[in-house]
Symmetry: C2
């Protein structure tokens, strides 16, 4: 059975014009004889009545009293409403369709409300409806425990529903429809000659997502990667093919891998750098500081342990708590607010010694001090002042020739 999973985000369903685009993508695949599973998010933008945020606002009418179980039950209604709406749209066009909750679609999860993990997908019912020739619409972002409790999958949950269904049904591809044309070499709000990428590897897109690019949730990518199901990130509002995401090796074999050292840039704003001077030996500093951060749920990044002490960064939201904790421990940290993290990502940079040299040269020429750096096989991170972010992104984008990414229709 030739099968595709399509996922449409909430904005794709919130007005008549967008719904027409959704219908076009569905019809195109049906006309090609493809079987379809369509995953939908909750409707609309923040503030619209059936959006997830509006349901959450309802939940917060009484403070944060709503138990997690009931919060998930409430939120799951958002996607169910979307699914039935799309079903009515298809049926009105004479397209046979069925709308299923996550549980009805056989998506079983553990009981971690708010961020449940998919444990199993029972595909009997999906296959039954597919063999009846129906488009199977599945409410995204949700599953069910074996006890019949509604659960939600947390951030990026509908992407996860889509790739997990794709993996379970051995789909030819999972198309993630969104409001952008695909994955770009950098955020176009910051880099005006950012270019669309025809293909990236699973690892690269995970790096981009983990480093602040709003693309597709890493958990969703991980599931696709394990099953080897290709994913496309593409626009609801055009017929471009978007960005193909698959194994680097597949891209190389198919000759659609550009074999560049650097594929794209990502960034995170609102970072605070904290420096603590070592007094009682590095192990002690490290242990006490990071234990305190962990016990308060503060994510740390750019950890740089030196004989003289330790540097690390936290998100600006957490900085006051972090500083307070350090003072309780008897440390007086040096605080540098207003930093940004720039990530230079490329599956091809592994072992290429020149990449860091290009970064240092580009930023130095632009008069941008590097406050800290870190690197892995496929990513180099630099910490800079946030007020120099636009210049830093632009100069790195140019230095790596990302503006020369081949033009293509996507």
């Amino acid at each position: 059975m030739d099968l595709i999973v399509q996922k449409f985000g909430g904005t794709s369903l919130s007005d008549e014009q967008s719904r027409r685009h959704v219908l076009r993508h569905i019809n195109r695949e049906l006309e090609a004889g493809t079987h379809l599973v369509v995953v939908v998010s909750a409707m609309g933008r923040s503030g619209e009545p059936y959006a997830t945020d509006s349901l959450l606002e309802l939940a917060r009418l009484n403070g944060d009293a709503l138990p997690q179980r009931e919060r998930d039950l409430l939120l799951s209604c958002g996607e169910i409403i979307s699914a039935t709406l799309l079903c009515s749209l298809l049926c009105a066009e004479g397209i046979a369709a069925v709308a299923l909750t996550g549980g009805q679609a056989g998506i079983f999860t553990d009981g971690r409300y708010g961020s449940a993990r998919i444990t199993e997908i029972k595909t009997e019912r999906l296959n039954m409806h597919l063999s009846e020739g129906k488009v199977v619409i599945v409410a995204g972002f949700q599953g069910m425990t074996p006890d019949g409790e509604a659960t939600t999958l947390g951030r990026g949950g509908s992407d996860t529903s889509a790739t997990a269904l794709g993996a379970a049904l051995n789909a030819r591809i999972v198309d993630i429809y969104t409001d952008v044309d695909g994955i770009l070499t950098a955020d176009p709000r910051w880099v005006n000659d950012a270019r669309p990428l025809s293909a990236v590897s699973y690892e690269e897109i995970c790096n981009m997502a983990q480093n602040g690019a709003k693309v597709i949730h890493p958990r969703a990518v991980e599931i696709a990667m394990k099953a080897g199901i290709p994913v496309r990130v593409r626009s609801t509002f055009s017929d471009g093919e978007g960005t193909l995401v698959t194994h680097a090796q597949v891209l190389r074999t198919q000759g659609i891998w550009f074999d560049k050292t650097v594929t794209g840039l990502a960034h995170v704003r609102g970072v605070t750098q904290l420096a603590v001077i070592n007094r009682d030996g590095p192990a002690d500093v490290q242990l006490r500081v990071f234990r305190a951060m962990a016990s308060h749920g503060i994510s740390v990044d750019f950890i740089n342990v030196m004989p003289t002490g330790v540097h690390y960064t936290v998100l600006a939201n957490d900085s006051q708590t972090a500083i307070g904790l350090l003072r309780e421990l008897g440390f007086e940290p040096t605080v540098r607010d207003g930093c940004a993290k720039v990530s230079v990502i490329g599956g091809g940079m592994n072992g290429e010694p020149g990449v860091m040299a290009v970064i240092v040269e580009a930023l130095t020429n632009a008069g941008i001090p590097i406050l800290q750096s870190a690197d892995s096989n496929t990513t180099i991170w630099v910490l800079i002042s946030e007020h120099q972010l636009a210049e830093a992104l632009q100069s790195l984008h140019t230095a790596f020739g990302l503006h020369l990414t081949p033009a293509r229709e996507i």
Copy 2:
């Protein structure tokens, strides 16, 4: 286990002040040591985003294309949202509570979407939560098929959920909270000295509901009646005890039965009387006319078969269709638009020969012609001109002394 089922309608949850009243009723019972199952309808009034009507409007964005199965799935979200909202309200007050869908509450139905019948209630989970000391909130109006499909119970569905749960759990009483003070002797918009009733029998309230009084759905009453569970219809906005509904015999035994021949009045407006002259023998007329009506789903009432032909009534909405059908059959009906049906209801009128005499006298004195009449053991119906409805109701109300119904706090 001393257990009460409370049911709150949509208007009881749609604003902060109403929710405070709901909380008061719940707290009062909890303080008395009573276990509680609380059934809720969808929030709000027509036009509010989470009201049933608003969800239906969403469903109708694409005409009437939405299949019944998906329509039920969509509508069921309205009550689930209400249930979680009430759960957050209780939890914020430190009251342990759990919100369940109809299916999770063990309410199983057949697969007649839109008007499913309850086939079984599995009480294990309800009993488990009750024994944990939790208030169990159940989304009304819905159930689940054994296959896990969400179903809705049709009109009056939340009342049905409440009485069915009351019957399954052997509740001491089912309290139906609404925006009126209980059941009145007549509609107060038409009869200004209408009085609240302290008690009515199951049969009487069924007659009232079937004859146009907006009280509680007959199906809900029937379930309570079979199980012998008393029901109270009472106001969310006061502490009055409302109207007790139970077996006539129980009311008599407890001395709270007023032993009146007539308990109350109900009415239906917008009725059209059709008269067909018999040509080919009465059986033929009857058969052909009523078959045609039935095959088009037109409800008929006040059927009066005579040697000369047949009189009957239809609702004004159906009258054009009915007239068309009669003409197709070769009949030219006499049509009287603008009629109203008045029902005089009383469990004590059985065998009392004087009741019809009082009706005829009252209406004759008021100059109101009786266009047609019918009667059963517990109800007499008269058809009159709708423009004389107010006068007719008022004169009957006075003639039967209903304005003298004992004053009481309800």
